[in-house]
Symmetry: C2
Subunit: 128 residues, 2 copies
DNA sequence: GCAATACTTAACCAAATGGTTAAGTATCAA
DNA sequence: TTGATACTTAACCATTTGGTTAAGTATTGC
């Protein structure tokens, strides 16, 4: 079936699709750490964490340098920038939603305010 | 093993970790479309596309409304905004890298240029 | 009503994922 | 050199994923 291989964005998204790995990245955002330090907060075995680190490393999100018998892990943000770039193409869509909400609020607040109570069944989004 | 279930960010990332699904979203960014229209560019079977749409819908990235015997699919950008928010926490890292790269280039271009060839084993990243 | 259209659902398969335990490797410390 | 430390690798397992084909379900048009 052969997935990704030369599809960096897919492997980045796949790497990020796991809460353990995102927690590891969050930890690394505070500063570099050894494998044991990264593993400590999790209940899973060390090999399991090691695999997660492998996935992150394959996705280019993490680099490791051996220093004696410990491996120092560093966050590598470049693939996240790729994600940010991909995401940016869709920004207008959620902003459009906010825009039309704002426009709606403007309109109702502006001219015909008395209509508000008659037809406040409108576009009832209040979870933003 | 029970994954995600109540981890929207994970299921969003997982949904985005497939080029077919990202292509579908890109198509939907041009306007809504029926299932057949979405399926047309791909060589895979219709059920396969249907499954992809199911994954996107489960992740909240797509909504479908039945109109007669066709299903109109719409892009839903809210989960992508969640991704953008997550990503934003890491923005400073790639900006920092670009900064330090710029600083490094400034330094090497500036003062001691002759040292470059003696120690260009340094931070040998050239794949940016 | 009957056939075509536009799907979805079911059943199946191979490969990938995420975990385990056990064994291996490299380094430090005594 | 021997043992502990810090991992990684191997082998295994259950579940998920992404595809297939075949069958099922609405809806439309004749």
């Amino acid at each position: 079936m052969v997935k990704y291989q030369d599809d960096p964005l897919s492997s980045t998204f796949a790497a990020l699709a796991d809460p353990t790995r995102r927690a590891i990245l969050a930890r690394l955002a505070l500063g570099d750490a050894t494998v044991s330090e990264l593993a400590a907060p999790f209940e899973m075995s060390l090999p399991a964490v090691s695999k997660h680190l492998g996935v992150l490393e394959d996705a280019g999100l993490l680099s490791r340098e051996k220093a004696g018998r410990v491996r120092r892990c560093n966050l590598e943000a470049a693939p996240i920038k790729q994600v940010a770039d991909w995401v940016s193409h869709y920004r207008r869509f959620w902003e459009a939603q906010l825009d039309s909400l704002a426009r709606y609020l403007d309109e109702t607040a502006g001219a015909d305010r008395q209509q508000q109570e008659e037809e406040n069944h409108g576009r009832g989004r209040d979870d933003d």
